[in-house]
């Protein structure tokens, strides 16, 4: 089955500003502003740590984030990498992260 992997955008593509408990983000390619709540900024940070343009699967990202975070989905029976993949795909649809299909 084809699986998506994800990568952070280059630094110049995003402007991020903390506003109280939220984060405002300006996406340069679209000119669209989004307001982000937890856990989105952390997801972006985690991908950013891997490096812009370096693709990682949700499982790989999960492994890396596990150093700092306890990751929880709605249902313990659901594999967390699947849930994380859904979240990342949503961000990819907005252009906030890059995605590509793995062979």
């Amino acid at each position: 089955m084809a699986e998506l992997s994800f990568a952070a955008l280059p630094d110049h593509a995003l402007k991020r500003v903390r506003l109280g408990g939220l984060e405002a983000i300006y996406h340069a390619p679209s000119g669209i502003t989004h307001l982000l709540a937890e856990p989105v900024p952390d997801l972006l940070d985690a991908l950013g740590t891997i490096g812009a343009g370096r693709f990682a699967t949700p499982r790989e990202l999960l492994g890396q984030m596990a150093e700092h975070f306890d990751i929880q989905g709605d249902d313990p029976a659901e594999p967390p990498e699947l849930v994380l993949g859904e979240r990342l795909a949503e961000l990819a649809a907005l252009g906030l992260v890059e995605s590509r299909r793995q062979a």
Binding site: V17, G20, G21, A24, T33
Partner: protein, 293 residues
């Protein structure tokens, strides 16, 4: 066009053309303190008849110009002045790029400004008019122009558009009757009367001020004050700005910078008197805090 005039307000220059004389005469009277040189304008506004016949028979003023909107309904010629004001606002709303435009009023004291934003009818216009009669400098009642480079506010002191009950309330405060424009009844927004800003505010309209307080007033509710956090202010202001998206990252920088540097409150008040008093109180609390910092 047959009749025309030029008007400069703050940094913006308008050329207004009309098929009729009356609206131009009214504009000249209302804007007598403003520069009226024939310069290359930022915007052209046209007040034109809806058809050749309608120029003479129950004349209707269609609003047109560099920037136009669908759904605009023509106004009867008696409301031509209102049509001109609307058309000028429309040009700013759709075409201005030098500042981040906020649908808000503003007054200042000692070079520091209170910005008041809210939907039509929230009372921002009346509040600014009342405060301006009590020692504040009037910066504008329709648009606040935020300079993306400096974070300052460029005054845009148009004649204040008073509506319905607010007309009587402000008439009580202003001694000089010549500052009022004609009363226009049965407009789409009810009765409207313009108040000319004092000549000194117009003379000072090139002088920018620093924003110090952001308020979201709401008129006609029991008195209440609520601190508003940066994110909520930010989202509300994106919706109160007509050119936020058009300015791209400059708009983002300007607006995030603004909400992070200026404290914000939502205020409810029952009448203009209470509103003005609330603003004064918040202002002095703000001043104490600023001085302590």
């Amino acid at each position: 066009m047959r009749h025309a005039c030029f008007i400069t307000v703050g940094p913006a220059r308008f050329r207004i053309g009309s098929d009729w004389r009356a609206p131009i005469d009214q504009l000249r009277a209302l804007y007598s303190d403003y520069p009226m040189d024939e310069v290359v304008p930022d915007f052209t506004v046209r007040l034109q008849s809806t058809s050749a016949l309608r120029r003479y028979v129950r004349p209707q003023v269609a609003i047109a110009g560099d920037f136009m909107l669908p759904d605009a309904v023509p106004l009867p010629l008696e409301q031509g002045l209102l049509a001109a004001e609307m058309a000028m606002n429309l040009q700013m709303a759709l075409g201005w790029r030098r500042h981040l435009l906020l649908h808000a009023s503003a007054v200042s004291r000692h070079g520091r400004a209170v910005v008041m934003t809210g939907v039509s009818g929230a009372g921002k216009s009346t509040l600014s008019a009342l405060l301006a009669e009590r020692g504040w400098r009037f910066l504008g009642d329709e648009f606040v122009l935020l300079d993306p480079d400096t974070g300052n506010i460029a005054p845009f002191p148009r004649p204040i558009s008073l509506k319905n009950a607010a007309i009587a309330a402000v008439e009580q405060e202003v001694d000089d009757d010549t500052r009022f424009g004609p009363v226009m009844r049965d407009t789409p927004k009810g009765t409207i009367r313009h108040l000319r800003p004092r000549a000194e505010w117009v003379e000072q309209m090139a002088r920018e001020t620093r924003p110090a307080l952001l308020l979201f007033p709401r008129f006609g509710y029991p008195r209440a004050v609520r601190r508003m956090d940066e994110a909520e202010s930010f989202v509300r202001l994106t919706q109160a700005s007509t050119n936020y998206v058009a300015l791209g990252d400059r708009g983002f920088d300007a607006l995030t910078g603004f909400v992070r540097s200026v404290p914000a409150c939502a205020i409810d008040y029952a009448d203009g008197e209470e509103g003005a008093e609330l603003v004064e109180r918040l202002w002095s609390e703000q001043g104490v805090r600023a001085a302590a910092a």
